[in-house]
């Protein structure tokens, strides 16, 4: 499922809303999730899961092509932990 398919699915459940509005809402939700993480906040969606940041320490890496050492700065990477309902529903589909 792509973002536009997700928009179509939701539009089918909200027949009173023009699809353009649903698109605005989906883009908004994705932007709010991104902003939360970009400002260091966690996102907790009961039954779905939580998004948080994981810290990566600075390290000396290597350019795989040339073998030269490069200093990699510390950084944060997004992390998702599925919630119980999502885990159970996906696992039951096996």
């Amino acid at each position: 499922m792509t973002r536009s398919e997700l928009i179509e699915q939701i539009a089918g459940l909200q027949p009173q809303l023009p699809q353009k509005d649903v698109e605005l809402a989906v883009k908004g939700i994705i932007e709010y999730l991104t902003q939360a993480l970009a400002s260091g906040n966690r996102v907790e969606i009961r039954g779905f899961g939580s998004f948080s940041l994981h810290y990566r320490a600075p390290r000396l890496g290597r350019n795989p092509r040339t073998g030269t050492a490069v200093q990699l700065d510390e950084r944060h990477v997004p992390h998702f932990k599925p919630g119980k309902e999502l885990r159970d529903r996906v696992n039951k589909s096996l």
Binding site: M1, Q9, Q14, G28, I30, N41, P78, R89, V90, L94
Partner: protein, 105 residues
């Protein structure tokens, strides 16, 4: 640091984009429910700019009861993984908050 919840997302849809409160709440609920439904149907979900949710099938593996030390097989499972997209990674990479930061020597 407080966690962002569905109520916060709905409040922003209402306040910033003008959806009425009921619509805002339903749109947030349906957003996550449709993703859950797709994953339950073993479909991958690709949200460009944010990331991809995928399912992975894990084989049975030997596990242990941590209390008794008894070896018991962990049954095969289907799990969800999330791969953040380039745009999301770029936007969180530079976060320099104090909360998770170890002191650098």
């Amino acid at each position: 640091m407080t966690a962002v919840t569905k109520a916060d997302l709905a409040a922003r849809l209402h306040e910033e984009l003008g959806f009425n409160k009921r619509e805002a709440r339903e749109l947030v609920e349906q957003f996550f429910e449709q993703i859950r439904q797709a994953l339950e149907d073993n479909e991958h979900v690709k949200l460009s700019g944010f990331g991809n949710f995928e399912t992975r099938d894990k084989r049975e593996r030997p596990g242990r009861n941590p209390k008794t030390g008894e070896v018991i097989p962990v049954p095969p499972r289907r799990v969800v993984t999330f791969k953040p997209g380039q745009k999301l990674k770029a936007r969180v990479e530079t976060y320099a908050g104090s909360e998770q930061e170890p002191s650098q020597g």
